[in-house]
Every structure is written in structure tokens, then in C-alpha cells.
Symmetry: C2
Subunit: 403 residues, 2 copies
């Protein structure tokens, strides 16, 4: 596949006020697509810098590759003025502070877009910039609770359980990127920027499609949690089965998969067992189905069971732990995962972007910057300040320098 | 906030070959941002149409609002020719078939972009279009297994557990939309389309940031699953607590939150308890912390407990079930959720898009079309066919008409 080798967002400048996961992930996707992303942090650093105590959080390194970094005190009048000047030359400002925080600081969307009508102002929040719950405190955990995720996650006999990953933050963050990219396209037509916003609570709702379908089919009453079984209880085999050295997930979508599975496990005579006649009947006799399958998987290493099922075209996958995932040969071969010598962390695996543009020579992965590492360079390059002016700003506590 | 009232993707035409969740969600986001999205289905309908047996799946209605629908037999030479003609006038073709399927049908990216170099061709798959695992069978369940999600989800004393929602499909789908919007912007600069692709396995990796950080901080050995506790075990309170009528999630990020919590629950004397001196000490004495908090929550309805904690600025949220979520006054007030009279389903709640563009008059929500509902209209409008030509195509089994 041929095509231009430039990155799609080359020439786009981003002011990234993101913190923790949500905003920074949007900024990360922008940076890896070729934008010049300037991460703006308070003089003491964004909250994620402090999470690891003395050690830099790996998460900070994962989400801030290929960004430059400037430390600005936005509570100082001169700091606000610097931010406004920087956004005048920018295409995008993104932030995930609570609603109204930047407005109260005097650097909200209205001020910034008055100075630069082409600016796209992007806000990521828990509940959005309007509505009765706007000001509820939002973290991944609370959005999982109020958004319905906990109600459908976990084993049938236990309490509601949060999903083990920060999915509200990340579903919110990638939607925020999506809104930004859309507004960039629109600006190419209209010449004008937009305020775009994404609420984490809204970003997770569509992902509940299976569960909401079960609710609907159950007459509007919520079915019990189903753990590793199908959320609607209408499919078997559909489970995580024990292997000699771990677990393997197996799912039969079509009848053909079931017949293939019986061949793989040497149980072809069960093809005519009336308990297993079709998907619906098997789902009703789930325990017998699972016993049959587990009786085979439990004697094999998960990779061996997977290989045998794959050879028969049965959808299956070994359950892998994070050590296996970070060393995944496939994702390393594709350049999604990379061994990087990070100045603060040593040799670690860091991701590139899940967005892939054929024909592009992908930007090399640059480790996340230290706090304020590019303060001086950015103020010179973008605002034309000279060394003594910058010295004065540092002394006055308006900006901070790292490195 | 003033701004143009047109939708950002007005004038953009999309051929949506998506099926089930991943592709259709990308198409849904395009439709709700104002694009003209033409859903192309096989004559028998896409797989999700058949999932509910006689009843339409609510998921199909959730993901196909505001699309038009044409049924084309892509195994018929004339069907292929029709698809190629349609894409000549389109900006985007998206699909989430397994790698190589459309190439083998003769309507892959190379053929379509040769006919229309401005076409953006978007592929959503489990593992991507390259690499050793490219052809592994991918469903949400198998990607959760192999992608590491199951390894960090579930209670500490149980097996690895899939997350209760189809998060690989949806993280994949929104990333696919993101890649498409990026390529649309790029095309406004270069004039040329791209092949863009997203692998579900790659789309979920960054969302494991907290868990990968725990792995790193634990010397590269995977820590045990933590259920409702903090994934790194470094924070308390951080849990789901029992209430009189359900559960409530509570998290204290800063010391101030802990002091506020003690005030809210009438335990201010515990402020000086050495077991609770700071976040780290509390995490070590998690059971005592949780007993103190649960001793208060268990006597209150979850909404009442939430109101009292919120009044003291403690991050908390009631754990809500899907009935509560679909009736959420906040999301209804914001127009994210809408009561819609769906022709096939009756009165149901359907989502608008999580992408919000200030100043836009959002498109009204049009219920998902029947299979082939717009076959005739689209063939007339886009390809200029007359009634008898379309009759012939229907008779020859090249296209199907619904409604």
C-alpha cells in the first residue's frame, strides 16, 4: 500500500493541559499521529507525577511519549498571559479539569477563542459541561459505579465489581481525541474552531450494548451477573476453562464451531447428544457442556490447547497475564510495543498508538519529558522571549525549568 | 458558546460494511456527527440482525441510528460492481471483516482506492492486518483473554474473569472512528485518502496503564487480582461498600478527602488514629478502614449516603443498575439518552453520540433502518438507476429490498 509518508497531523500544534489518564491519552494519540504536543504542567507537576512517590509512574511514561513539556503557574497573572499567547499560535487546547476550573482561572474557552477563533477547545470531564450532575466529583471508580459498569461485572454470587482497568478514563480519552480530530476536519471546511466535549459517563454507555440488550429482553429487569458466562446466557460453550498451566477462553458462535470443537477434543459422538442439539439447548445445559470441554482443557497447557483448537477453526485464546502481553511477539513485530530506554525508568515496554495509517513512516517513540524540560525552548521558539526575560519568569515563579 | 449550527461531518459520505459492534459503532459516531452513512448488508442481514431470533436486538438499534440501509450480495459480480460504483462517490469505506476477506471478494482497499484515490479505507480487526497473529479468530471474548484484561479482572480468590461488557469491540470501534476522522483531516491537506486500521488488541493495551504500572512496581511479577480494591493496593478507602439498598463506591485521593469522610460519618476522632495516618498506612490497614466506612454506609440508602458524602466533598457514587442508568435524569437532560419509538422495538432508550460539538444543532435521532430499507432510493440517488434496472437487480439476487 503506497501513500504519503508524512504523519497525518504534521503541522498541528496542541496545548495539552491533560492530567492523569483521560486528557493525556488524547494528547498521546495526537502526538503519535504527528502533532506538536506541548504538555503544560503546574510548577509542581501534574498529579500523576507524584503518584509513584520517588519513582516515576510507568503510566506517565506510557501516556506522554513524543510530547514536549513546559511548566507554567496558571495562578500567576503572567502565567495566564503566557498560556493565552501560546494558544494564539495553537490549533488545539485540551484539558480534563473539572467543569469551570479554567473559566475561573480566566483562561477558559471564551477567553481563548476570542483571542484565536480557529482554536479547538476540548474538554474531558466525568459528566459533561452541563446538566444536573455536572459538578459531581468524577474519577474512574465513581464513573464505573454510577455508569452501570459495576452492576454487570464480577461473579454471579458476589457484590457488584469494578472492572480491573481504568476503562472510563480511556474510553473518555479516545472519544476526546475523536471529537478533536472531527473538529480539525470541520475547521478545514469552515475555518472556525469549536468547543468539543466528552463526558466519561456518556463514553461508556454504548459499550454496555450487550448488557442493555439482555435487560431489554428480560422485560426491563436486570439479569444477574454472569461472570465468565455469556451476558445473556444464550450461548455455550462460552467460558474460561482451566488448563494445566492457566486458563483458556473458548466460544462457539456458529454450529460449525461446535462441531469443530468436538472433533478437536475427540468427542465427535456428542454431536448427536440431544443436550447439545443447538446453541439454545446447549446454553440450557451449560454445566454439561462446560464439563465436557473442561475435561479436555484441564490436561493440556493453555498454548497447546489453543493450538489444537485453532487448527480446527474454533474461536479460542489463552488467558495471558501482563508479562506475556508486554512481551507479545505479534505486537512487537507490528511496532505497537517497543523496548525503550527511558531516562527515568530504565528499559521498559512502551506502546505506540493504536491508530495506524498505511504508508506513513511512523514517528519514532521519544520517552516522556521531565517536568519543564522544554520550558525555555518553547518560550523562545513560540513567543520569541530571550534568555533574560525567561530568567525573570523563572525567578518570579511564573514558569519552571526541569532537566 | 456561539458557533456554526451545521454538523461537523455534513457532506461526508460513508459506506459502512460494519457488523456486530466494532465497525457499526464507528459508523454510528460518523452518522451522529452528520455524515451520510450507508449501511451495506448482505441479503440475509448482518449477523447482529439474527442474534435476537425473532426479535430485533436492542444493540442493533443502539448502533445503527441515523444510517440508511442497502442490501447487496457481494458474492455476485454485479453486487461487487455496485459497491465499487458506490465507493467512487464516497469519502469513507469502513469494514470489520477478518483480514483479507474483502480482498478475496475483489473489493479490497487496492481496488477501491484505484477507482477513488480520495477514498479513506478503514479496517477494524482483532489483531491487525499484519504480524504473525493476524489471522487468529478474534471476538471480544478472545481479545479480552489474550490482551490481558481477564488477568486483572475479578475477585482475588477466583479465576481470571472477563470484563462484563464488550470493551474490546467498543475500544476498537471508537479508535477506528478516530483514525477515520484523522484521515479526513489529513485529506483536506493532501487531497489523498489512506488505508487506516485499528486492532482491538492494540486498542485495549493503553487502558491497562494502572495495571502495567503495578506490574512494573512489583519487579515485573504480576500482582494478584484485587477485585474492588485499588489495583496497586496503595490507597484506602478505595472500595465498594454495602448500603441498605445496594452499594456505594468511595475513594479518597487526597488527605483532605479522608478528613472530609471522617466528618461525614461522624468519626472525627479517628483522624489521630495512627493506623490511618496517611494513604500508605491506611492501605496497609485496609480492613480496619473498610470496617469503619462500611459500619456507616450499611445503615443508609445508597443515595442518602452519597448525598451526605457529596456535601462534604468526598468522591463517591452510588452503584447503579442498568435500569437506573437508562433512566438517568442527567443524561436525558443532556440529550445523550432519548426515549424513542422504534418501529421494531417499541418505546426504548437510545443513545446519541458521546462526541459533543458546541454550537451544533444536533441531528435528531432516527431509528435504525430495516434491512434494505433504502436500497431503491440509494441506487437511484447515487447511481442514477431507474426503477426497472433496480427490479432486475432484485430479481437476479444482486440486491435486496426491505420495508
Amino acid at each position: 500500500m503506497t501513500g504519503p509518508s508524512r504523519s497525518p497531523l504534521r503541522g498541528v500544534t496542541v496545548i495539552d493541559l491533560g492530567q492523569i489518564y483521560n486528557g493525556p491519552y488524547a494528547g498521546f494519540l495526537l502526538a503519535m499521529a504527528g502533532a506538536d504536543v506541548i504538555k503544560v504542567e503546574p510548577l509542581e507537576g501534574e498529579p500523576l507525577r507524584k503518584r509513584g512517590g520517588q519513582n516515576l509512574s510507568l503510566a506517565l511514561a506510557m501516556l506522554n511519549s513524543n510530547k514536549r513539556d513546559i511548566a507554567i503557574n496558571l495562578k500567576h497573572p503572567e502565567g495566564k498571559a503566557l498560556l493565552i499567547e501560546l494558544t494564539k499560535g495553537a490549533d488545539i487546547l485540551l484539558e480534563n479539569y473539572a467543569p469551570g476550573v479554567l473559566d475561573r482561572l480566566g483562561v477558559g474557552a471564551a477567553v481563548l477563542q476570542a483571542a484565536n477563533p480557529r482554536l479547538i477547545y476540548a474538554s474531558g470531564t466525568g459528566y459533561g459541561l452541563s446538566g444536573p450532575d455536572r459538578d459531581n466529583l468524577a474519577m474512574d471508580l465513581t464513573v464505573q459505579a454510577v455508569g452501570g459498569i459495576m452492576s454487570i461485572n464480577g461473579p454471579p454470587d458476589g457484590p457488584p465489581m469494578k472492572a480491573g482497568l481504568a476503562l472510563c478514563d480511556f474510553l473518555g480519552g479516545v472519544h476526546l481525541y475523536a471529537a478533536i480530530a472531527t473538529a480539525l476536519y470541520e475547521r478545514s471546511v469552515t475555518g472556525t474552531g469549536r468547543v468539543v466535549e466528552v463526558a466519561m459517563q456518556e463514553a461508556v454507555y454504548p459499550a454496555l450494548a450487550t448488557n442493555l440488550t439482555s435487560l431489554h429482553n428480560n422485560g426491563g429487569r436486570q439479569p444477574p451477573r454472569t461472570g465468565n458466562n455469556h451476558p445473556a446466557g444464550t450461548s455455550a460453550p462460552y467460558n474460561v476453562y482451566p488448563a494445566k498451566d492457566g486458563h483458556i477462553a473458548i466460544i462457539c458462535v456458529r454450529e460449525e464451531h461446535w462441531h469443530n470443537l468436538l472433533r478437536a477434543i475427540g468427542q465427535e459422538e456428542s454431536k448427536d447428544d440431544p443436550r447439545f442439539a443447538d446453541q439454545w439447548t446447549r446454553a440450557k445445559n451449560r454445566e454439561a457442556v462446560d464439563a465436557l470441554v473442561a475435561g479436555w482443557t484441564v490436561h493440556l497447557p493453555k498454548q497447546e490447547a489453543f493450538a489444537r483448537l485453532q487448527a480446527q477453526h474454533v474461536p479460542a485464546a489463552p488467558v495471558r497475564d501482563l508479562v506475556e502481553v508486554t512481551n507479545d511477539a505479534h505486537m512487537h513485530a507490528r511496532g505497537m510495543l517497543n523496548w525503550v530506554d527511558h531516562p527515568a525508568l530504565g528499559r521498559v515496554v512502551l506502546p505506540h498508538s493504536p491508530l495506524r495509517f498505511h504508508g506513513e513512516t511512523r514517528p519514532a517513540l521519544n520517552p516522556s519529558p521531565e517536568l519543564g524540560a522544554h520550558t525555555r525552548a518553547i518560550l523562545m521558539e513560540k513567543l520569541g522571549l530571550d534568555a533574560s526575560a525567561i530568567d525573570n519568569l523563572v525567578r518570579a515563579g511564573v514558569v519552571g525549568e526541569g532537566g
